[in-house]
């Protein structure tokens, strides 16, 4: 097997005395669509924050394409080709939709900390940003202030910013949270479209979305992965059923 896109080795995270992540081992192959599910408080978001560099692991390692990235800063990990979205919409509310996407492009297109380019004059930048707007169906909102968008549109923009940089590992934290059924369908189509040929790691509560999108599912309960397999096998697993029966059924 080739080097996995993401590998977690005995990953642990404690906040004070509370052990939130307790020795997680996980391999996510290149091009895989991997979903992480689990009851509330299982540590899904913490796991996300550990992989993306927001938190430093208490013990264990995070490997990206075989390189140890544990303890690196989010921007360093991002530059290596990992991009994430947020559960609570995290966009630049006071910038236009177009500028939001452009901010997602600047580093990856090599503009970095440049103070000798005029952003408006860079045609490659403008074209690429418009292309992404087209992809996420927000072209008609191009010059609107992002904060004024409807909620579902903000979620789409969030995904647009996340994929803009062309990262090959995309991590989405509850992309469908708070959406209606029809909006969810649109977002799922969008996710499928923009993450083609990429590694996708997704946390989601909507089981319909999970079974629709994922190649493999990991079930996280109390900071431990109790099952990691194909959707069919996870659905059939007694351990998973027990874990979910004891707590709130998350199927919405």
């Amino acid at each position: 097997m080739s080097v996995p896109a993401i590998e977690l080795r005995n990953l642990e995270k404690s906040f004070g005395l509370a052990k939130i992540i307790q020795g997680v081992n996980l391999k996510i192959g290149k091009g895989e669509r991997h979903a992480i599910i689990g009851p509330n408080g299982a540590g899904k978001s913490t796991l996300f924050n550990l992989i993306t560099g927001k938190y430093t692991p208490t013990a264990g390692q995070v490997l990206m394409h075989g390189t140890d990235v544990s303890g690196m800063k989010p921007y360093q990990i991002n530059r290596m080709g990992l991009s994430r979205s947020f559960q609570i919409t995290n966009i630049f509310h006071n910038m236009t939709v177009f500028e939001n996407v452009r901010c997602g492009l600047l580093w990856s297109m090599g503009y970095k900390y440049s103070f000798w380019h005029m952003v408006n004059r860079q045609r490659d930048l403008t074209e690429k940003a418009d292309e992404i707007l087209e992809q996420i169906n927000l072209s008609s909102r191009r010059n609107m202030v992002a904060g004024a968008l409807a909620y579902a549109e903000q979620r789409a923009l969030e995904i647009g910013i996340t994929i803009a940089g062309g990262a090959d590992i995309i991590m989405l934290d509850e992309p469908c949270a708070g959406m209606s059924h029809s909006e969810t369908d649109l977002i799922v189509d969008l996710i499928r479209k923009v993450t083609e040929d990429k590694t996708l790691i997704i946390v989601e509560h909507d089981m319909g979305v999970i079974f629709d999108l994922a190649d493999r599912i990991s079930v996280l309960v109390y900071g431990e992965i109790i099952e990691s397999d194909t959707p069919e096998k996870v659905r059939a697993s007694t351990a998973v059923q027990e874990a979910y029966l004891g707590t709130t059924v998350e199927e919405a």
Partner: protein, 429 residues
């Protein structure tokens, strides 16, 4: 979108005037060129120079506050150090000059930059309160050092020099005030244009992004700390230029140029003008300098009025004077600005009477408390009266209260007109 966003610190992705074409710059240049022919007295030139220096300083400050979201209480450090070093360069070269005076601000800028690199290395680690506290500490530190290191800062007398001792620049010795005016004006244009263009570069845009949402910027490949540091250095560079211009104009620098009072007043200037707009600090600097120089000719308590103006700006117009102008863009675009003319005209007289009578109350009280024995007579608005008598005070209070009530009564009318003027579509009945 012409309305500013919910908080002043976070506006700024839209500008009051579309500055992205050259026209406003050409107008500004022509304006600066003819200004000394309109106001040609020596004191007017001094005021204009001071204004230009304050504009450069305030614009550099807004690179931190408005564009980078960094609230600094010690920005005078970079202007002051830039100024002191320029003055030393000037004095050091005076025996054997190899540059002419117009190049001196480059030195000021470089020294400002040098200190910004050094201090920014640790102060920009965190934004918010931590940054503000460190800037305050550094400001106090440098101000205290200026009294201790007499050999460099000149102690209480400060450091002075003679600007005419450098090489002539196309026959200009820069002795006459007008030549200095043009030097300052050219540097004002260079610095303002530089800072404007900076805001349009990738780093300038990302500085806005970090200001609005530092976490998101980190996940887009940008180190928030590096972004703040670079903005901080650019800001220090332009502040240093302002310092050198100060050195050239006044030929003396003292502790006052880098103390906390100066740092505080530039915050005031910038906020007064409006931090969310590129032109905000320019308007703020013009208004502030005019109030400071002109108002102080007429009243001893000008600082009190300035304070009142500042507090009311913060409370009622958090987008500053520029924001106040900017909210009229929407009615203007809708072609409904005429709806506002009548309510504004109605409020004009009570507003003017209100301000003048409230000022009269303050002036009478001040005069009554501070005038020497036998100097009870005071002159206000061309009327001479006894400041210790009750009548003038009562009249002033009555006028102030009456006009306040008139304004309160007229306010709903303005509100209605305002709703109408900003309402899209046809007339609303």
């Amino acid at each position: 979108m012409s309305t500013p966003s919910s908080t002043p610190l976070k506006a700024g992705t839209q500008r009051l005037i579309p500055l992205n074409h050259a026209l406003p710059w050409i107008i500004a240049a022509v304006f600066l060129l003819i200004l000394p022919y309109i106001f040609d007295s020596r004191s007017a030139l001094t005021i204009m120079n001071q204004m230009a220096i304050t504009i450069v300083f305030a614009l550099s400050y807004n690179m931190l506050l408005g564009q980078g979201g960094m609230l600094s209480f010690g920005h005078a450090v970079y202007m002051g150090l830039g100024g002191f070093f320029s003055m030393h360069v000037l004095n050091w070269m005076s025996d054997d000059p190899w540059i002419s005076l117009p190049f001196l601000p480059i030195f000021g800028g470089l020294f400002g930059l040098m200190f910004a690199i050094m201090i920014g290395a640790f102060s920009t680690r965190r934004a918010g309160t931590v940054f503000a506290m460190i800037s305050l500490g550094v400001g106090e530190l440098v101000a205290a050092m200026s009294v201790i290191i007499v050999i460099f800062f000149g102690g209480e007398e400060g450091v002075s020099g003679d600007r005419t001792e450098l090489l002539d620049f196309f026959g200009m010795s820069f002795g006459p005030q007008r030549q200095v005016y043009y030097l300052t004006a050219v540097w004002l244009l260079i610095a303002a244009l530089g800072m404007y263009l900076y805001s349009r570069t990738p780093i300038g845009r990302i500085a806005n992004a970090v200001r609005d949402n530092e976490e998101r910027a980190e996940f887009l490949g940008y180190s928030q700390r590096h972004v703040r540091w670079i903005s901080f250095c650019a800001s220090g560079f332009f502040a240093g230029i302002a310092g050198a211009l100060f050195a050239i104009n006044f030929e003396i620098l003292t502790e006052e140029n880098l103390n906390l009072a100066t740092s505080g007043s530039i915050l005031l200037v910038t906020f007064l003008g409006g931090v969310g707009f590129f032109v905000g600090p320019i308007i703020g600097a013009i208004v502030f300098t005019l109030l400071q120089t002109v108002l102080s000719l007429y009243t001893e308590i000008w600082a009190l009025y300035l304070g009142i103006l500042f507090v009311s700006t913060v409370m009622f117009f958090p987008f500053g004077l520029t924001g106040l102008l900017a909210i009229h863009i929407q009615p203007w675009k809708l072609g409904k600005i005429s709806h506002l003319v009548v309510p504004y005209a109605k409020m004009f007289i009570p507003a003017v009477v209100g301000v003048l009578s409230a000022a009269a109350v303050l002036e009478i009280l001040f005069h009554a408390r501070h005038a020497g024995l036998g100097e009870e007579e005071m002159n206000l608005y061309g009327i001479t009266f006894d400041s210790h008598a009750a009548m003038p005070l009562i009249i002033a209070i009555v006028l102030a209260v009456a006009s306040f009530f008139a304004l309160v009564k007229l306010a709903p009318g303005l509100k209605a007109a305002w709703d109408e003027a900003t309402h899209m579509g046809g007339a609303k009945q």
